[in-house]
């Protein structure tokens, strides 16, 4: 049992890396399945449209799923129609765009993985670019080939052109090489950008490294405690209500937070370097309701990322 706990702890400590690797494997598997089962290049003038749709629509779908699965999206948008002031608070209009930008960056991980895997494979790009009608591009690709290249490039992806095998094979290899170089560029650019943004965010962080670590632990624990206490109070309240219904008695009072208290507790947390509040509930409990309505500063995003959707 002890050994099992040690192994589990080892994996739990690296769950971000394992999560990302799992997502990458899933993307690779999905891309393989798509290109083997579903993708059939039409080998006509429709190549470009077909190839681009297969390349970009799954990326769009993954982006939307990314937005759905991020609990911060729901925290930001719940109740915004009833009270627009919630997402555009007085004096801090950019707050919404800042938070939305963070959510988008998180949701962009899966689409970028899909794009890079699809480009490294080369099938979709090969089909799409063999249908491109741009004369400059055709001149570049068909440089030292026969005249047939200009008219029959779109049939090369299916192997149905009347050009000799060595020529059509070389054309396919050139297109796949372009695709793979583009794929590597996408990966490198993404990696560089994410390293730079993480560095900048870290440098400008108002809290030190160890406090950040404690904060993450606190956030996880608070979420567990909230779930537990929701269960407890929900049980108490529903028991009381049902008992009074069946036994036709007067209900005894149970104290629950007021509507405004729930509203205040649901706001996105922002950090103030003069005080030391690790979450919105912490701030609410120590300062009372009025503390929440003050000017907001930057948001510490991970605090709210894993809240209950």
């Amino acid at each position: 049992m002890d050994a099992f706990h040690t192994i589990l702890k080892f994996f739990m400590n690296r769950k971000t890396a394992i999560g990302y690797s799992f997502m990458a494997l899933l993307t690779m598997g999905g891309e393989r399945v798509f290109s083997l089962v579903a993708f059939r290049c039409p080998c006509s003038s429709e190549n470009l449209r077909y190839g681009l749709v297969f390349l970009f629509s799954p990326a769009l779908v993954l982006l939307v799923i990314g937005y759905f699965l991020n609990s911060k999206t729901w925290k930001l948008f719940t109740g915004c129609w009833v009270n627009p002031r919630k997402i555009f608070p007085r004096g801090n209009v950019c707050h919404f765009f800042y938070v939305f930008g963070q959510i988008t960056l998180n949701a962009l991980v899966a689409p970028v993985m899909w794009l890079s895997v699809a480009l490294l494979n080369g099938t979709f790009y090969e089909c799409a670019m063999s249908g491109l009608d741009n004369p400059a591009y055709l001149n570049a690709v068909c440089e030292r080939k026969s005249e047939k290249c200009f008219g029959e490039l779109h049939m090369v992806a299916c192997g149905k052109s009347s050009m000799p095998f060595s020529e059509s094979d070389e054309l396919r290899r050139t297109l796949q090489a372009q695709s793979q170089i583009l794929g590597w560029c996408v990966i490198v650019t993404t990696a560089l950008l994410s390293l730079l943004t993480t560095c900048c965010a870290s440098c400008q962080s108002k809290v030190s490294h160890l406090q950040l670590m404690f904060w993450k632990v606190y956030e996880g624990t608070e979420k567990e405690q909230l779930e537990e206490i929701f269960q407890q109070y929900a049980t108490k309240l529903s028991e009381r209500n049902l008992r009074c219904f069946f036994e036709n008695k007067e209900p005894e009072p149970i104290s629950l937070p007021a509507f405004q208290a729930w509203e205040d507790a649901s706001q996105l947390h922002s950090f103030s370097s003069s005080k030391q509040h690790y979450s919105t509930i912490h701030k609410l409990v120590e300062e009372g309701q009025k503390g929440i309505n003050e000017e907001r500063e930057t948001t510490m995003d991970f605090v709210d990322r894993r809240e209950i959707p």
């Binding site: 090489a177 994410s194 030190s208 509930i281």
Partner: protein, 318 residues
């Protein structure tokens, strides 16, 4: 059960070496997958670009990943340039310290990229493709040939055709042999540099062998207890807060370390031979919660004590 326990203990004791070996194995495996499944040399004038991209770009990406995963990077950078204070690199000491940590972190991060390059060179397909498009190689091999253009075209086709190398010239080593020689040379030089630098850092170590051993055990223990204590403290604080939220009462006074206390223990560790402190927490606690002048004393940063800052990595960087 006993044997499993024994095996687990062995793994935990040697987890650094095991970790690096696993990283190297994973890199070698993915290089194998890439070169057999994904890599198709175009066999035309794009050979050089294609081959070099496959050889060098994944190495660069692995380097960036190595930086992101290393705890010391984030320990050094977090909070170093907050917007309210103007970050000043004017002090020479701070700059030197940053550079030294950067060099150590880079050395650690270079393991995976160099493994990739070494394995890729040993397998020879990437180098063969890149070299067959390289003008230097072309000048070397084709200088005695009458028809330069024909020779170049033949050279381009080498990665796609197994029989071709013999037709061009038997004077020079085949491209595959060149690649493997370079690969072995790279591995040998990396090993030599690693051995020399470890020797030098151990020679310059201000502490003795047994004390270093004790120190490593202390760091690990401190990290485990820190995690346990942090979880306990966080649980108590979260309990107080959630109960007070539901019952609309005021919270009981509960002491938690202040922002300034956290900042003090997050500094990078410096060694001082007068007083023996095994970590920043130790130093903080023994110098009147960081208020005594001894806390701010400058110390040395011997490379052999780099492991002190590499603990406390729950979810480093992400």
């Amino acid at each position: 059960m006993d044997k499993l326990r024994g095996a687990l203990d062995f793994c935990i004791r040697h987890q650094t070496v095991l970790g690096y070996s696993i990283v190297s194995l994973l890199t070698a495996a993915s290089e194998y997958i890439f070169s057999s499944v994904v890599f198709k040399c175009p066999c035309n004038s794009g050979n050089m670009l294609y081959g070099s991209v496959f050889l060098l770009v994944p190495a660069f990406i692995l380097l960036l990943l190595g930086y992101m995963v290393n705890v010391r990077t984030w320990r050094l950078l977090t909070g170093s340039c907050p917007p309210e204070k103007h970050c000043d690199c004017s002090s020479w000491g701070t700059c030197a310290r940053y550079c030294q940590v950067l060099v150590t972190v880079t050395a650690r991060a270079l393991v995976a990229p160099l493994t990739w390059i070494a394995v890729a060179l040993l397998r020879a397909s990437f180098y063969e493709c890149a070299a067959s498009g390289n003008s230097l190689i072309k000048n070397l091999i084709c200088k005695d040939q009458k028809d330069q253009e024909e020779c170049q075209n033949l050279l381009f086709k080498i990665p796609c055709d197994e029989q071709l190398p013999t037709k061009i010239s038997s004077k020079f080593l085949s491209l595959q042999a060149q690649s493997q020689l370079i690969g072995w040379f790279l591995i040998a030089s990396i090993m030599t540099v690693a051995l020399i630098s470890t020797c030098v850092s151990r020679c310059c170590s201000p502490v003795s062998y047994l004390q270093l051993k004790f120190w490593k055990i202390y760091s690990k223990k401190e990290q485990e207890l820190f995690e346990i204590k942090a979880k306990e403290h966080a649980t108590k604080l979260a309990e107080i807060n959630t109960h007070c939220f539901f019952e609309a009462t005021d919270p009981a006074p509960f002491h938690t370390p202040s922002n300034e206390d956290w900042r003090k223990i997050s500094f990078l560790y410096t060694f001082s031979s007068q007083k023996q402190y095994y970590s920043m927490i130790h130093k903080y606690v023994n110098t009147n919660r960081g208020n005594s002048a001894r806390f701010q004393e400058e110390g040395q940063n011997p490379p052999v004590l780099g492991f002190v800052d590499e603990t406390h990595a729950i979810e480093s960087g992400f």
